[in-house]
């Protein structure tokens, strides 16, 4: 009995220590909310109450929070997969947006095929997003161009081109929104917790978490991917085709982002609205950084980010601050999340007892 408890302690403590840095960063970011409310709001108590408790207040807000976590789970998984292989995918914005638009267009076109059409459209949209990210992987494999920068640049250009396509050739003139036509009713996922916009897309996100986890830890290819990320030269001498693990993880990373965009269309938006996904890509990246690229940790990290956004939205509706305080809080997380000093703050003690 006692021995058993010691064992759990031994397992629990290091994992607490290694996430201590992350918890500290989260705490600093939440202090940022406090400071911002005190500085900017005439009714700081009201602002804080709605920021922190608003998202949990009723099923509407709570459902919406879970719903906005859904694309972040996909994005977080995508970035995690890339980072595990030693690559960086900063093109999430364009990949979500592009994946969503291509999915929407094919969903409308493939409407007669029913469920098969829905799956095909989703697959095509996600593959398009995968190709965008895969291109960066290809450029790195071929000429050693930094995939970090190219994925970002490609994404920025793609976002603008998608804006043009949505507001130009594919715009639906019958609505006042700048958006494409809606996908067929039969393609829409059913709602959970109405009247919130939560849909069964959340379940698909959870399936994706299990799938990515299984791929990384239970398959040969996943093992090779992780080895390449840990030490590319060692992996190469071990007979792993490391060039493959530059392009493939980038493709899969974009594919997951594209799925996130596609499911957002099927579950929530039903048509590609101009700039509907703005910020989702970056938040997906932050989620992966907070989760330290662990698929299972992506879920709480995505919930944290969705919570900040939902809190800011609720504070905006019920108090006198604007939604963009979410961007400031998120930027605090970004500032600190890659800090080696903060992340190893609690681990050092273990090394020098």
């Amino acid at each position: 009995m006692l021995e058993n408890r010691n064992q759990t302690n031994r397992k629990l403590l290091p994992s607490l220590r290694s996430s201590g840095g992350i918890l500290l960063i989260v705490l600093i970011a939440l202090c940022g909310v406090l400071v911002l409310s005190l500085l900017l709001s005439k009714t700081p108590a009201r602002t804080l109450r709605y920021f922190f408790l608003g998202p949990l207040q009723n099923t509407y807000y709570f459902g919406n929070m879970l719903n906005s976590a859904t694309p972040l789970i996909f994005g977080g998984l995508g970035v995690s997969l890339a980072m595990r292989s030693g690559n960086f995918n900063l093109g999430g914005e364009g990949q979500i947006y592009g994946g969503a638009l291509v999915t929407t267009l094919f969903a409308i076109y493939l409407a007669p095929l029913g469920v098969l059409g829905a799956i095909m459209a989703l697959f095509i949209g996600a593959s398009f997003a995968g190709a965008l990210a895969g291109l960066s992987g290809f450029l790195r494999m071929k000429w050693n161009t930094s995939e970090l920068i190219t994925s970002f640049l490609i994404s920025n250009a793609v976002v603008l081109v998608m804006n043009y396509l949505i507001s130009g050739p594919f715009m639906d003139p019958s609505t006042s929104l700048i958006a494409t036509r809606k996908i067929p009713d039969s393609f829409r996922l059913s709602a959970l917790l109405p009247p919130s916009s939560l849909s069964t897309a959340l379940f698909f996100a959870l399936v994706a978490v299990v799938a990515v986890h299984a791929y990384l830890y239970k398959t040969k290819s996943g093992y090779e991917l992780r080895m390449t990320g840990l030490n590319s030269r060692f992996a190469k001498y071990g007979g792993i085709n490391t060039r493959k693990f530059i392009v493939l993880p980038m493709f899969l990373s974009g594919f997951l982002y594209g799925l996130g965009g596609g499911f957002a269309i099927y579950g929530t938006y039903f048509s590609a609205i101009k700039e509907f996904s703005a910020g989702m890509g970056w938040n997906g990246l932050a989620v992966a950084l907070i989760a330290k690229s662990k698929p299972s940790a992506v879920i709480p990290a995505a919930l944290f980010f969705a919570y900040i956004e939902a809190g800011a939205r609720s504070a905006m509706l019920h108090s006198d601050v604007t939604f963009e305080i979410a961007a400031i809080v998120q930027s605090i997380v970004f500032f600190l999340i890659s800090s080696e000093v903060l992340l190893t703050l609690f681990e050092k003690k273990r090394r020098n007892p």
Partner: protein, 300 residues
């Protein structure tokens, strides 16, 4: 051909924020840090300068305070990156996200307005130039009659050349990028020179941002619209040399001035024009890495 002179004249103004931002970025680049925060720093400078000008009633004081605020942000960026040992790309993104969030939040808090804020109390920028110089054909038409920012940027360009290539401080900044260990061995701290170069980029971006808003007499959300990223391309295209920056920035200024002129005439969707800097940067990056790989293959 009568439209070429006005295009060239406006190109000189348009290139100035690019030149200033890339000048500061050159210091960070040479010290071995990829500074993608130029965009956020420019935005910070643009917003703070016009706000301070509005509240102090003086353009000079407003610009100086705006530069101060921008340098403060660059100091935060530098200390998080260097002292807390963070990835410079991610902290740079954080700076950009922070600046775009902060400017909207402050604009809302101060003016209850998240859109364009027009300042009627701010006069247009005084244009400098003497009659004698302005009368010189072509040269006078293109280079005379700009605001003080433009001439200041040229002086600063000459100064950065002098600092980087003629002073020990400049040598050490460049050494930091080339071989930080060598500097450490000599008892100097590479991180100090990196910190200084971040501050310099905060200074030049503050000045460049000030020109953007003071020239317009208004703050527009996301007024920088990718200028910080283009400034990075200018550094690469300018071959990381001060006078190379001048040429590269002028090319972009000219392209911008021409597209402003041609937008109506050629009827290109504005989204495509906005996408050009990113595509251009991408091609420049791929081109330079192909070049580097070929060169590496020949040398080895």
């Amino acid at each position: 051909m009568q439209f070429t002179i006005p295009i060239l004249h406006s190109a000189v103004t348009i290139m100035t924020p690019l030149l200033l931002a890339s000048m500061g970025g050159l210091f960070t680049e040479l010290s071995g840090m990829l500074n993608i925060a130029l965009e956020g720093l420019l935005l910070m400078g643009a917003f703070c300068s016009i706000i301070f000008t509005h509240y102090t009633g003086s353009m000079v004081v407003g610009t100086v305070l705006g530069i101060g605020a921008t340098m403060l942000l660059s100091a935060i960026l530098a200390s998080v990156t260097l002292n807390l040992k963070s990835n410079v790309f991610i902290t740079g993104l954080a700076t950009n996200l922070f600046a775009s969030g902060l400017t909207v939040v402050l604009s809302f808090a101060l003016f209850a307005n998240k859109g364009v804020v027009v300042f009627d109390d701010i006069p247009s920028l005084p244009l400098l130039g003497t009659q004698a110089l302005a009368r010189i054909p072509i040269f006078g038409d293109i280079f005379i009659g700009h605001s003080a920012f433009v001439y200041l940027s040229w002086i600063l360009l000459a100064l950065s050349y002098f600092v980087l290539y003629r002073t020990p401080f400049g040598f050490r900044i460049r050494a930091t990028g080339l071989h930080p260990e060598a500097l450490s061995t000599l008892g100097m701290r590479p991180d100090r020179y990196r910190f200084a170069s971040f501050l310099i980029s905060g200074f030049t971006c503050g000045l460049g941002g000030a020109l953007l808003t003071l020239n317009l007499g208004a703050f527009v959300p996301n007024i920088t619209a990718g200028k910080g990223w283009i400034a990075l391309v200018v550094i690469f295209l300018g071959n990381k040399k001060p006078f190379g920056l001048l040429i590269a920035a002028f090319i972009f200024g000219l392209a911008d001035a021409f597209s402003n002129y041609a937008q109506g005439a050629l009827n290109i969707p504005s989204d495509f024009i906005l996408a050009i800097p990113y595509v251009f940067t991408l091609l420049a990056m791929v081109g330079s890495s192909i070049y580097a790989k070929k060169k590496g293959a020949i040398e080895s």
